[in-house]
Amino acid sequence: MIEEILFVVGSVAILLGAIYDLIAAIGLLRFPDFYMRSHAATVGTIGGATLPVFGAGLVALVYHPLGSQRFFMAGIAFTVGVLILLIAPTGSHSLVSAVYFGRIGKKSKLVIDQLEEDLPKRSDVAELVKEHEEIPGEEEEPMFSFRRVGR
């Protein structure tokens, strides 16, 4: 009796995870902006990867054709689930912060943007560049360089 309940719960988790994955893929394809795309991506990683992995672990616990190897399979599945649950939000957050602070791409219209005062302004950057500017002509031209030669 308990085996049927575990199998049905695991199978429903796998099917629900697959549907989450399709919804996240459609969202990643159709959204117009990077920040909205990152919303769809987090749906795809937590709902589409963690949920079916835990469901597969529950199925593997009672799947008798595997023999006595089914406990190892369940251990692998739960390990992968916990790892993705820890890793996926960290990776998405670091990627979005890189896009925001590195000013990559086109910035969308935001209603309120409280992080904007942390960004370096144009005048600060100009002062920094002026302080560290090297006097030209003092050092020799390198014989060989990977950088683009001015035309």
Binding site: G48, L66, L95
Partner: protein, 94 residues
């Protein structure tokens, strides 16, 4: 209740949907206007492939196959960190 027959139905339904999702992620990675979009698509793609590898490992009845999922999830996370360190600080210490 025969578990093997019931699991085959679950696998056929979910494998079709996973293949559709892989195709859509691939199209986003081809179209992506900036590099960050491609990295985001790789992130989603590798985590979902890790989940699909565990489900296929039950179908193939082999635990040696399913251990590749751990490695895939961990290395895809390193790619995010390399890209972030290159964009924000300009250099990478390996």
């Amino acid at each position: 209740m025969n578990f093997e027959v019931a699991f085959l139905d679950v696998l056929y339904f979910s494998a079709v949907i996973y293949a559709l999702a892989f195709i859509l992620y691939g199209i986003r990675a081809i179209k992506g206007p900036t590099t960050a979009d491609i990295i985001l698509a790789v992130d989603c793609l590798s985590f979902d492939m890790a989940a699909f590898m565990v489900v296929l490992g039950i179908y193939f009845k082999s635990i040696m196959l399913a251990s590749g999922a751990i490695i895939l999830a961990l290395w895809a996370f390193m790619l995010d960190l390399y890209y972030t360190k290159y964009v924000l600080y300009g250099e990478v210490e390996v």
